[in-house]
């Protein structure tokens, strides 16, 4: 391979960019999850003394959540087009699972057939659906 070939892009630029963007998504996700758990514990154990402090803590966690969304959006914008297709297909399935599962479970709750504690399982199913669908998509296009 001729390294002076003008059609040759910088070595591994696509992979390096994806890797950097994925690391940022993971970092922001981790910080958001950590802040979410801290605020949840703070509210549960009544560490957050006043309404203002609680509001500030929730707002801080929400800002980290927004940063995660923006980092993921940037990853989607800059990633390779096949990877983007796989990610978007996985998001569509995860969204469907969340909507259909969540609303179906809500009907069960209002009918008295299920308890509200089960929402955590529906939420977990939505979260785990995305990476599973990404793995399936990668295999499909391999």
């Amino acid at each position: 391979m001729n390294s002076t070939d003008p059609s040759l892009r910088s070595p591994g630029s696509s992979q390096q960019r994806d890797c950097r963007n994925q690391k940022l998504v993971l970092l922001w996700s981790f910080l958001w999850a950590l802040s979410f758990l801290a605020v949840a514990q703070g509210i549960k154990r009544e560490w957050l003394s006043s309404g203002v402090v609680t509001f500030a803590a929730v707002a801080g966690s929400a800002i980290l959540g927004i940063a995660t969304v923006l980092a993921y959006r940037r990853f989607l914008e800059e990633t390779d087009e096949l990877r983007r297709k796989i990610e978007v297909e996985a998001l569509a399935v995860a969204f469907g699972v969340g909507m259909v599962g969540g609303l179906s479970y809500w009907l069960l709750v209002i009918s008295g057939a299920a308890s509200e504690t089960g929402y955590a399982y529906v939420f977990s199913a939505t979260i785990f659906t995305h990476p599973i669908c990404v793995l399936i998509g990668r295999r499909r296009y391999a």
Binding site: S7, L8, Q15, D80, L82, A142
Partner: protein
């Protein structure tokens, strides 16, 4: 959609990784296009044509691949 990517790449003695690097996409994308599992976007099709110095229609054939699924 059928394409001649694999043949054109072989003629130039490029690996899938070499072509992926020239197109700034992943090797998986090149592999999926070659196997007819994925049809590239118009901008990527133009980049492919540019890299091979050919017209798009000389590389891609709109005839459906027999392996194409609905």
């Amino acid at each position: 959609m059928k394409n001649r990517l694999k043949v054109l790449r072989a003629e130039r003695d490029w690996t899938q990784a070499d072509l992926a690097q020239r197109l700034d996409v992943s090797r998986q994308t090149v592999n999926a296009i070659e196997k007819g599992k994925y049809d590239p976007s118009l901008p990527l099709a133009f980049r492919i044509a540019q890299v091979f110095g050919m017209a798009i229609e000389a590389i891609f054939d709109p005839t459906p691949n027999p392996d194409d699924r609905l």
